[in-house]
Amino acid sequence: MKILVVEDEMLVAMLIEDLVSDLGHQIVGPAMRLETALELAETIDLDFAILDINLAGKQSFPVAHRLTERGIPFMFASGYGAAGLMEPYLAAPIVQKPFDAKAVASMLAKVGME
């Protein structure tokens, strides 16, 4: 799958890249700021996206809106866990930081089968 990675911290972005490419997927990004993430979410053919919620002080929900409009599935990655989510994404899939590689893998596998 072609997966958009949105994460504002360099080291963490590299980690997600590794987790995702180890599972055989292709990375788009990482987008580390809201503006870049929005641009990629609007223009690139994507199968999935992993969204950090806080991008250098701005929230990534506009990226989620755009992906929803385009029918592209995504999950959030957050240090807050589900407590960092807001409407209408309260029930959106989320992985907690630091990452459990198995949780990321099973989430991606689910998307791949749908």
Partner: protein, 375 residues
């Protein structure tokens, strides 16, 4: 209280000489449903005298209309609304909370009490809406027959405490968020370092040095309350440990610029990787080699932003050549650093020494503070 039966002063019962006492004396009470002072029942006189003595903000609301009489402490609480509130009907005196006070009057005049803890209301005390929190206590004031003639209210504003508690909760959330992100960063350092090393010893040393680099960058940011850092200070902290004893092999030069917390952290980590490489294979591995770090900020040719350019130039080291594999450091400085700073990064393996140039913009390196929601 000392009574003065022969003075002929109808306000003699007040027994107080503060601002509110003199405003009460000067007010034309015959305009209100309470009537002229000569007609006031004993409970009104006694309660008024008592509340004037109190340091707690107290207001009394008399009759169905809730005619307001209050003390000096309440006048301070009422702000801009004072002194118009004196003698006003409570629903008109505080129109923004008329419904709330209507309920208070109905319950109080029926002989019942009300208590609210940290009640949130929006008041116009300064001409603009203001969110305030209060502890509020309402009780009926009985007349001689035992029937409620009015309502007495004690108003203890708790806005400052409520705000402090909210702020503390926000800080704890933010701390927890930062801890989780830091753990993810450590996870990233460990997993990526292990991919690129041959021995356990090498891995252990590299992991520990990278964690220390992250920690030093945190120190600088903590000093600045995490809202950014001076680039020169950040670079010095990142490179101090690499300065060889006895000589100034590393020079840092550039105009004063404040960089945002994300950019500061990333540039510090990049400098650490460059310095690590230089001490192993480059200019810092010899007795005479030098590294010059410099940056500039110049007007952009294409937009309103300014161009930020940072260079790392090694000289006098061993003959350099391009490494065979793209390790953690290369990936960080050439892969994600330019992504993060929305710019470009290049490494040039010139025979006289490695040269690294990062190009970005002032806007990109001055990112916004980390303290925010989400993430």
């Amino acid at each position: 209280m000392h009574t003065q039966p022969d003075s002929g002063d109808p306000f003699g019962f007040l027994g107080h000489s503060g601002e509110m006492a003199s405003l009460i004396r000067g007010f034309d009470w015959s305009k209100t449903t309470l009537g002229a002072v000569e007609t006031w029942p004993a409970c009104v006189k006694f309660t008024t005298a008592m509340l004037l003595q109190s340091p707690v903000p107290i207001v009394t609301l008399w009759g169905e209309a809730g005619v307001m009489i209050y003390n000096d402490a309440y006048s301070a609480f009422a702000g801009f609304r004072h002194p118009q509130l004196l003698g006003a009907n409570v629903r008109e005196g505080w129109p923004e909370v008329a419904d709330f006070n209507d309920h208070v009057m109905k319950v109080g005049l029926a002989g019942n009490t009300l208590a609210y803890s940290d009640q949130e209301l929006t008041l116009y005390r300064k001409g603009t809406p203001e969110q305030v929190w209060m502890d509020l206590y309402y009780s009926p004031v009985p007349d001689e027959t035992g029937k409620a003639a009015g309502v007495i209210a004690m108003v203890v504003e708790t806005t400052e405490r409520v705000r402090a508690e909210k702020h503390q909760k926000m800080l704890i959330n933010e701390l927890n968020h930062r801890v989780k992100n830091t753990l993810a960063s450590i996870q990233a350092i460990v997993s990526q370092t292990l991919r690129g090393v041959d021995t356990k010893e090498e891995a252990s040393a590299a992991i520990s040095q990278r964690i220390m680099a992250l920690s030093r960058a945190h120190d600088v940011l903590t000093d600045e309350n995490w809202d950014g850092a001076d680039l020169h200070t950040m670079a010095q902290y990142a490179l101090d440990a690499f300065q060889p004893a006895g000589r100034e092999a590393i020079s840092i030069e550039g105009p004063k610029i404040r960089v945002g917390p994300h950019a500061a952290l990333s540039i510090a980590l990049a400098l650490h990787e460059l310095a690590t490489n230089a001490s192993k294979y480059g200019a810092l591995s010899t007795r005479t080699g030098t590294v010059a770090i410099s940056w500039s900020i110049e007007p952009s040719q294409t937009d309103d932003d300014e161009v930020f350019k940072l260079s790392w130039e090694e000289q006098g080291g061993p003959l350099v050549r391009q490494p065979d594999r793209r390790g953690f450091g290369t990936r960080l400085i050439l892969g994600v650093l330019p992504q993060e700073l929305r710019g470009t990064a290049e490494i040039d393996y010139q025979p006289q020494g490695l040269r690294f140039v990062l190009r970005s913009s002032r806007v990109a390196v001055s990112d916004t503070p980390l303290v925010a929601q989400g993430g």
